[in-house]
Symmetry: D2
Subunit: 297 residues, 4 copies
Amino acid sequence: MSALRRPQAAWRSRSRPAGLPSRQHKREGQPCYTHERATFSASGQLTRSTLEIRNLSVAVIGAGDYIGAAIARKFAGEGFTVFVGRRNGDKLAPLISEIQNLGGRIFGRALDARKEDDISAFLQEAEHRDPLEVCIFNVGANVNFSLTETTERVFRKVWEMACYSGFLAGREAARLMLPRRRGCIFFTGATASLRGAVGYAAFASAKFGLRAVAQSAAKELGPENIHVAHLVIDAGVDTAWVRDRIREREGEAALKNLDPGRLMHPVSVAETYWQLYQQPRDAWTFEQEIRPFGEKW
Amino acid sequence: MSALRRPQAAWRSRSRPAGLPSRQHKREGQPCYTHERATFSASGQLTRSTLEIRNLSVAVIGAGDYIGAAIARKFAGEGFTVFVGRRNGDKLAPLISEIQNLGGRIFGRALDARKEDDISAFLQEAEHRDPLEVCIFNVGANVNFSLTETTERVFRKVWEMACYSGFLAGREAARLMLPRRRGCIFFTGATASLRGAVGYAAFASAKFGLRAVAQSAAKELGPENIHVAHLVIDAGVDTAWVRDRIREREGEAALKNLDPGRLMHPVSVAETYWQLYQQPRDAWTFEQEIRPFGEKW
Amino acid sequence: MSALRRPQAAWRSRSRPAGLPSRQHKREGQPCYTHERATFSASGQLTRSTLEIRNLSVAVIGAGDYIGAAIARKFAGEGFTVFVGRRNGDKLAPLISEIQNLGGRIFGRALDARKEDDISAFLQEAEHRDPLEVCIFNVGANVNFSLTETTERVFRKVWEMACYSGFLAGREAARLMLPRRRGCIFFTGATASLRGAVGYAAFASAKFGLRAVAQSAAKELGPENIHVAHLVIDAGVDTAWVRDRIREREGEAALKNLDPGRLMHPVSVAETYWQLYQQPRDAWTFEQEIRPFGEKW
Amino acid sequence: MSALRRPQAAWRSRSRPAGLPSRQHKREGQPCYTHERATFSASGQLTRSTLEIRNLSVAVIGAGDYIGAAIARKFAGEGFTVFVGRRNGDKLAPLISEIQNLGGRIFGRALDARKEDDISAFLQEAEHRDPLEVCIFNVGANVNFSLTETTERVFRKVWEMACYSGFLAGREAARLMLPRRRGCIFFTGATASLRGAVGYAAFASAKFGLRAVAQSAAKELGPENIHVAHLVIDAGVDTAWVRDRIREREGEAALKNLDPGRLMHPVSVAETYWQLYQQPRDAWTFEQEIRPFGEKW
């Protein structure tokens, strides 16, 4: 069945700029990837020794305990050197231990994503260790206030966290990736990226703004062989915070009997980013929405 | 033909909250409006004495020489007390003279729309003189830089001018209008409100963000009888700045032979705002796009 | 205040094609319009003698008892010759009597809008009497079936009524208007024009399809000085049918205490079309949404 | 690194309906998938014996020489029983031979997708052989005529091919999948699914209509554990037809020096469908756009 699996070899090779490492390496990386998979045991276990090292780095800005951590696990498990940053760097310790114990390569840094110099230094450190292959911006700042109760401080802070810092991350990643014409810059969006709603003037404004940055960047960087994508998570994600909100509003019983189609697991977000990363460059997605099968929309 | 013109009288009266001046006053205001129009001479001239005074104020935040000024002329000509604000208050002098000489009521103030206290004071002054009927946010900040050349200072400043100050204007207007459940808050949008593009990371991000504020506000304030709208100008507007850009890029001849369907006249923007103001409250528009007949889109 | 009211005179004249009646005539028509308004009595009555005749025709395809009838009343009251068509021509009799009794000029025809020849003959008859200035397509076909219960007959019929006949109307109107580069073609849309929903596979498919026709036509005909617009009614309209549905689902009491912000009055739809008609050609709207102030969206 | 790879085991099991084969089988299928991959030789060859048979069928409606054929190869190569249908069944012979020679299971049928009975019989035959796991609707009908030159026959035929037959396919697939609450229904969209354009009244109308069917179906069938997706191909696809168009318009030289970022390879469309198929059900995508890295949008 080889013809079924590899018909694209010929046309793919056309698109590689001479003398440059091709973005298509992602696909050419399949041999090592396959090799690694080949050592899965029948029970799905993988021994440390089989983890193929890629010598490429992935930066996760906004590496919280859920989505950010899941992304880090995924890419570490695929052999990337992972740099994770979050405001309170101490909170990264368990994630780093977990991944290092499994043989993954991961580095954690305290990072205020609203500070230009911090973002720049964080990405440069990743680049310095291994070329920055993927930068994922995942800082959230969900708040809910009626318009008249939204203080200027809240409005500004939500924007700084969810939009301005995304601009800085995208720009700094682009500066590193442009010289070698290769890389991916991904942004985590939300329902509020596409629709304003009662109580969401601040949050939606920041998320709309981030989407505009992503879209402008995608149009500008795509022809430079840099893949920019905006992933719209149109659902609640299964986190402690979301579960607390459900408990508050609907009671403990509601939480116990939670519809399995209601919340999205962070692992699934990470898988989606992995799919985006694997896209061949003649079929890149800029925007993709994901939601649980039971979600009303 | 009276039945053709006024069949709505019955159902309209249903919707007026007891004891409050109804937003429908806009329509009930037609007798004075008609009276005034009745005195147009054959040549379209209107004498000062016929200008019906409405005892309602309109605030224009971002009253530049083109769109902002046209809005001021329109609403002054319809008998409103107009408050115009712009950064450099001195530049308002010719507009104020022009309108005052014609018998209109207008007040100009230097206004930094990015300052919470300034916006608040500006709108309160308008409210104090005559109830604030309409607040129009019209601050622009169009810049064009590639992503990597967009400084953090530019990104922040464009946002402060085109988004943050719009939030402040909308919130402060809402605070004044909510107690009497009446008023209109309108925002000027642009092509970049809906689409990011190469070179527009900063501008589109701010305009997307403003649109989210407007949409959230519309959903929150609509049921309170406050009309929020977002007017998308999907074209170049006929201003000195735009004409200079055309001259630079296409030469003096291009400017001379300018296609009449290419630029939008500021007066037409003002007319569209006037139409939005006249909408009955059972058929409010939140978003409306306008472009010249010859525009490619 | 004449300068406030007529500053656009100069730039408007630029855009008139030599030797052709200008679309801007709509605005130049204001003197007659003003004249007419001047004769409103204090009680809002208008005597027949003042109805200015325009010698322009308006065709309403899908002239039901509510929106279509309201449009007919509005344009007849503004002095147009109105042609109304609906499947069962007999049902037009009361509307025709009403308008004729008030001095309006109106003609009713039985019309199956799904028949190419019928549409063509209907519009040509209007054109023959007075140049066709406005064609409004207002045929609805709202049905609700789950996907698996949607028969091929229903799917096809809904499309024929709500989309295919709209294409025919738009095309035939364009053929009449293109030679003189003047006219308006308006389409009535709905929430389902923009969003599919459970139970609306057939209806949304037809309304999406109609919107595509309108958008393609707008881009093609705009530069030919023909204004195409798509009006999205994002609400229930106050009709007997909608009131029956509310009675069925929520009971007689719900209908009695109907929130005044819930339903849109047909007159308001007609007013919105009138506003679209009045737009100057440097600021045409293609798409405009309207909904009552209390609508959740 | 097993913990990195399989953290989702626990939460996944929650979502499986008792007594029913879970949609999550897709992921549980990974062992066989992995096993198969393990037998890739160094050169990427795969021997026939290793092709794991899935006992699930995939139906491709509109199996042309490019996208449809690529989808068939992909799913056959992954071990599915593939049913391909197109108007001229004889043209399927080379594809069927190719896949059968490689050990794949494939059946071709002449199919007029506009005929309810044909669609129904085609899908039932697939279902009868192996449960219908995926139905992909891929019929195209791209034409370009100005509005006034679009005959009613063209308008109707394009709709029947690109929209009506998609409705039939989606409905019939749903009828087979609903009883076991499992399956995927995918639709191929295009730029014209989202935007009308000059010359595309017929094609855009049909594609808009198809999108509405897909969206309504997604909302209706998602909670029934059936994944409906709409894949928007926002680019030219590398087919003989598209290359002929380029040759016609830009000359032979343009074709020779074709920018590698301009056309999308059919294989990449198939890969995207494969990604959609692999999504866990807590993170399903309804709409996803793909375009080459160099595409202007």
